[in-house]
Amino acid sequence: MIDLSIKIGHLNMKNPVMTASGTFGYGEEYRDFLDLGRLGGIVVKAVTGNNRDGNAYPRMAETPSGMLNSVGLQNKGVDYFVKEIYPLIKDFDTNVIVNISGSTIEEYVAVAEKINELENIPAIELNISCPNVKQGGMAFGTISSTATEVTAAVRKVYKKDLIVKLSPNVTSIQEMAKAVVDGGADIISLINTLLGMAIDADKRRPVLSTVTGGLSGPAIKPVALRMVWQVSKAVKVPVIGMGGIMNATDAIEFILAGASAVQVGTANFIDPGVTMKIVEGIEAWCGLHKVGSVKELVGGLIS
């Protein structure tokens, strides 16, 4: 019997496979394809203080081994989430984690306070890649002092596990990791999308309405692996790794690099049942390599 269970912070997970925010809706749409109870956790899409319509169409461009998106945090706001969405997802037999976002520290704090009241949400994931309107649009996650500040402000009001999700669009990912740990993060997840751009040469126009967007998929995996490895060495808190995971081997690579758990994003669009295959594949891999528990693999890179 191979033990796939893992504990990070206070989160008990059946296995290390979670779904990434913005790629799994609120879980509902996936019920045709898989048993949500077999997932280690679900991170639902970003919740903000108020309703956001998101960016104009086109919001997507396919790129070699990946895609760019500029959805722009479309959601109906935290009050709608608490009233309408939470009742639908609160009894899922897995860890349901809420990804929260804002344009000001006050907005992050207000959302975190409301999610803190929800009994069946064991953790939040702070998405600090959002532009900080007060700082002239620079993302919270790209300046270490503001990253510490927003994390600390949320920490004050949020009592359960606080996951902070890092943006890869920085010079030193270790510095950002340390900054959010200083602010009180319990767990770090990474990476969010890499800033990119696509051009339609025939039309001489950018493909996305926003010109630039976030790159995801296998194209970013080498960058993500490098960053997970660097962060897991730089800080003591557990790390959740993601970026381009398509199969069990990809997931194992992230775990070896230092991740205690992984999130699967874009791959769900192509195969909505892929997470189940990844869970089974990790188990099979452990069997083949005579590993009794995935915990033994975390950071198990031989160098």
């Binding site: 790629t23 045709d32 396919e62 070699p64 081994s65 959805v71 479309q74 669009f269 192509i270 195969d271």
Partner: protein
């Protein structure tokens, strides 16, 4: 709206090339297909094509519940569709379905279907379905030239067929949108339209002037096709809607066209 979504490996029964740029895939399912409705689409996985990362959406062109097959009419655009054009009998294709909403029945019994380019794909299924419901169907399609026209005979089984060609080699010369039917006093209970956005908008505009109800099928680019990524949205009079879930069929009133 649509039932439980499934992923299946369908078997290619036939790959019929209609002209240089169009082909039809006839696909058979291992298990009973759902009761597809016209306007619905599928998401096809293109294997072994490095630049085709995401699935490709195609409308249901034909559905045969007895043979348990669907037909896709595909226009070769880029790498994904080129790859699919090479499929051979017996090959397998991983397909997700049923996706999207569907066209609705008109209030009366006399309708016009307008298609341009690969926009004709969902119209044959629609024409057959309408005919089964005793609706009188007129089908107008636009082509570059006579040699490009395909499937005219099957459309003729559903109703009156009108064509335009850009060089005038068959039917009226010009684009579908300049066909005299729009200037005549013929009227319809509903116009259904499918094709490039610009053409659909022009048709919607003419329908509006004549006070005719109009439904269009949008082809926004999609990442998932089943409602989770929010990439395919279109603005409507009740906020952003997902073309893959609340669409692809919209009334032009909803779209504010």
């Amino acid at each position: 709206m649509s039932g439980k979504k499934i992923l299946h490996d369908l078997v290619v029964l036939k790959n019929e090339h209609l002209n240089k740029w169009h082909f039809i895939l006839e696909l058979q399912a291992p298990e009973l297909l759902p009761q597809f409705l016209p306007g619905q689409f599928v998401q096809v996985l293109v294997k072994d094509s490095p630049s085709t990362f995401l699935r490709r959406p195609f409308s249901i062109h034909g559905f045969d519940p007895v043979k348990n097959t669907i037909r896709l009419l595909i226009q070769i655009k880029g790498e994904g569709t080129s790859h699919l054009s090479l499929l051979r009998e017996g090959d397998k294709l991983n397909v997700m379905y049923p996706l999207g909403n569907s066209f609705t029945l008109p209030s009366g019994k006399n309708v016009l279907l307008v298609g341009g380019g690969c926009g004709v794909a969902p119209l044959l299924f629609l024409a057959r379905w309408l005919k089964e419901q005793d609706v009188k169907v007129t089908i107008l399609t636009g082509w570059k030239r006579k040699e490009d026209i395909f499937e005219k005979d099957v459309y003729l089984q559903c109703g009156e067929v009108l064509v335009t060609t850009e060089n005038g080699s068959e039917g009226e010369m010009g684009m579908v949108t300049s066909h005299t039917i729009f200037k005549s006093d013929r009227t319809f209970d509903r116009i259904y339209c499918c094709g490039p956005d610009r053409m659909m908008k022009a048709v919607a505009h003419m329908a509006k002037r004549k006070g005719i109800d109009c439904e269009v099928s949008l082809e926004n680019t999609m990442a998932c096709g089943f409602g989770v990524c929010l990439c395919c949205i279109t603005p409507t009079n009740h906020g952003n809607q997902r073309v893959c879930m609340e669409g692809p069929v919209f009334s032009t009133k909803e779209l504010g066209w």
